[in-house]
């Protein structure tokens, strides 16, 4: 009996015994070579970009230098300069950092709101769900790009946070819809009913009982959203409605290519930024897709 007990205790010490969704997802990523490489590369880019941007002097980079306009790549300027004589490489680093930051921020804001919205609609169901879904339908049919641009152009105190909130305000519907349909299924399960009979409040049941059970879906969706949001941000910056020009984004560099001269003859200004956006979005997507396959498979198994 005693032997048995120590045995049990040992098992309890072993953390891998717990069915944590995070750990399972992590295992799946390690198994999927493409996703693993993507994740490593992504981490490297992130660390590199944030590290260098920390050392770089942003004012130095965005200062106009009329003696070095449109320099092709050279030893002094690794990737040349733009029409204001500003170093492209430095802008690329800072732009990547800014794009990543805003991607994370928008994903977080829209994610938190969308998850809460979806959980509440799905958990309560009935009239609540119906009313909330009509609101969601309305937001979903709005012309997203245009409304964001209009808002961006009329907001007086325009900051990174304001920009993120505007983007998130028109971008939470996808995840909300997904979470809602999952919550609708989940709330029928007995453990939710049990919590009700045990006197647990609705808020606690929603966020402490149901939410942990759909955490893998949340992680997968948030990852895929991150890729999309990086793309959307750079698109808006490309049109000139992301950051102001003094805060470079990857989209800002691409927007120089709307000048036919730049597009045709000065590839060093826009091609690296284009490649970087593509690579980052693909990598994030690889990770997200691997996670999605993992959760799908788990659902199929039981």
């Amino acid at each position: 009996m005693e032997v048995n007990n120590t045995n049990l205790a040992n098992q309890i010490q072993d953390p891998t015994k717990s069915p944590s969704g995070l750990k399972i997802l992590w295992k799946e990523i390690v198994r999927d070579k493409l996703a693993l490489v993507s994740l490593i590369l992504l981490t490297l880019i992130t660390v590199f970009v944030y590290g260098i941007a920390f050392v770089l002097d942003q004012d130095e980079i965005v200062r106009v230098d009329l003696f070095a306009i449109h320099e092709p790549p050279s030893e002094e300027f690794i990737l040349g300069t733009d029409y204001g004589g500003r170093d492209i490489f430095g802008q690329l680093i800072i732009g990547t950092r800014n794009s990543l930051s805003i991607g994370f921020l928008v994903t977080a804001i829209s994610g938190i709101f969308g998850i809460a919205f979806g959980l509440i609609a799905g958990y309560f169901g009935g009239y609540t769900d119906n009313a909330m879904m009509r609101v969601l339908d309305f937001f979903q049919v709005l012309p997203f790009t245009m409304l964001v641009i209009v808002f961006v152009s009329i907001v007086p105190n325009y900051t990174i946070l304001a920009f993120s909130i505007i983007m998130a305000a028109f971008n939470w519907m996808g995840i909300a819809r997904l979470i809602r349909s999952k919550a609708l299924q989940e709330k029928e399960l007995d453990y939710v009913q049990a919590s009700k009979t045990l006197g647990t409040s609705h808020t606690k049941i929603i966020f402490r009982e149901v939410m942990p059970n759909i955490s893998s879906l949340i992680i997968v969706t948030m990852t895929l959203n991150l890729a999309a949001n990086i793309g959307i941000e750079s698109g808006l910056s490309f049109l000139g409605f992301g950051f102001p020009e003094s805060t470079p984004s990857l989209g800002t560099l691409l927007s120089y290519a709307t000048n036919p001269q730049t597009l045709e003859y000065r590839w060093w200004i826009w091609v690296p930024a284009a490649i970087l956006i593509l690579v980052m979005m693909l990598m994030v997507r690889n990770v997200g897709e691997a996670l999605r396959r993992a959760t799908d498979a788990r659902q199929r198994r039981g």
Binding site: N5, I12, G21, Q193, T197, G199
Partner: protein
């Protein structure tokens, strides 16, 4: 005094249709059910699936909203009491049918069993842990299990965890919704006997919902048979098994398998006879919609759904 008294309980689910989704009709899941349970007794609710027995149980504890009727607990009205009166809620707990879905897979056993304690009692971490460990001991599981997750247990063990959770705040009434039907037959008796043990120990009252007459006979003091949302027959266990009056009850009782092979022939003929009677006298026992009539007393304890003799 009766601990639970249910009076003319009706649970209707709306059928919606039309452009504005108006309610056009109702599904009468429970249609006028009345009963009362004495402290310390076990009251069995029997019926086929869809008969409304589970809905009755869920309505009593507040998981379904009640269309009309009254539920009295210890003399207090708890009809649709929802989440308002936590003192009453604490006294009524539930054991669920499926031990696999009734325990949150993402929570440790400690957190699962402590959930009602956290809602109703202010315990320190240490006290709470002790309580959970002693509860685990009561249900026959190792107190070291508190840090494990539900998937590390067998179905029978999980149901014991569910029971430990239900008795954690020392309730007076437990609604057991088919507590063993998802378990292997070998484990069923174990869990049932254990339920009887803690009933004596804690002076519990059970509302025992089941489709299995054999189990009900073993567990219950009083039994009600439900069919299509209505009572067909109600009485003591002896009334129902020795003197079934309604044709539907007779059919159910005759269908209980007998393990003695020498009675096989006898059983067979008995079943044939009941089946014939069922076919012949169906219209005497059910109204034009195929529903049971109102209950008529035939003794102090025994009620049967028969048309009023005029």
């Amino acid at each position: 005094m009766a601990i639970l008294k249910v009076n003319d309980l009706k649970v209707y689910f709306p059928i919606k249709a039309g452009i504005f989704n108006r309610t056009v009709d109702h599904v009468k899941a429970v249609d006028g059910v009345s009963f009362s349970i004495e402290q310390g007794k076990t009251y069995g609710l029997v019926g086929e699936s869809g008969s409304g027995k589970t809905t009755t149980g869920r309505a009593v504890i507040g998981l379904e909203s009640i269309y009309s009727g009254k539920v009295m607990f210890n003399g207090k009205d708890i009809t649709n009491f929802g989440r308002k009166n936590s003192a009453l809620r604490k006294d009524v707990q539930m054991i669920f049918q499926d031990p696999y879905s009734s325990l949150n897979p993402r929570k440790r056993i400690l957190d699962i069993i402590a959930e009602p304690l956290r809602n109703f009692e202010n315990l320190s971490m240490q006290e709470e842990k002790k309580r959970v460990q002693s509860l685990l001991e009561i249900v026959g599981l190792s107190p070291e299990s508190i840090l494990k997750y539900p998937h590390e247990f067998s179905g029978g063990q999980r149901q014991r965890i569910g029971i430990a959770r239900a008795i954690a705040v020392r309730p007076k009434l437990i609604i057991a919704d088919e507590p063993v039907s998802a378990l292997d037959v070998s484990v069923q008796a174990q869990v049932l006997n254990f339920m009887q043990d803690i009933q004596k120990e804690l002076n519990l009252t059970y509302l025992f919902i089941s489709h299995d007459l054999g189990i009900v006979k073993h567990m219950c003091d009083d039994i009600a048979i439900m069919y299509k949302g209505r009572y067909v027959e109600q009485g003591t266990t002896a009334d129902i098994f020795n003197n079934p009056q309604h044709i539907y009850t007779k059919r159910l009782v005759s269908a209980i398998p007998d393990i003695n092979p020498r009675n096989r022939e006898k059983q067979y003929h008995f079943r044939q006879e009941v089946q014939r009677e069922y076919a012949n006298s169906y219209n005497d026992y059910f109204d034009s919609e195929g529903l049971a009539y109102g209950l008529q007393p035939i003794s102090d304890t025994h009620l049967v759904a028969l048309p009023e003799r005029g």
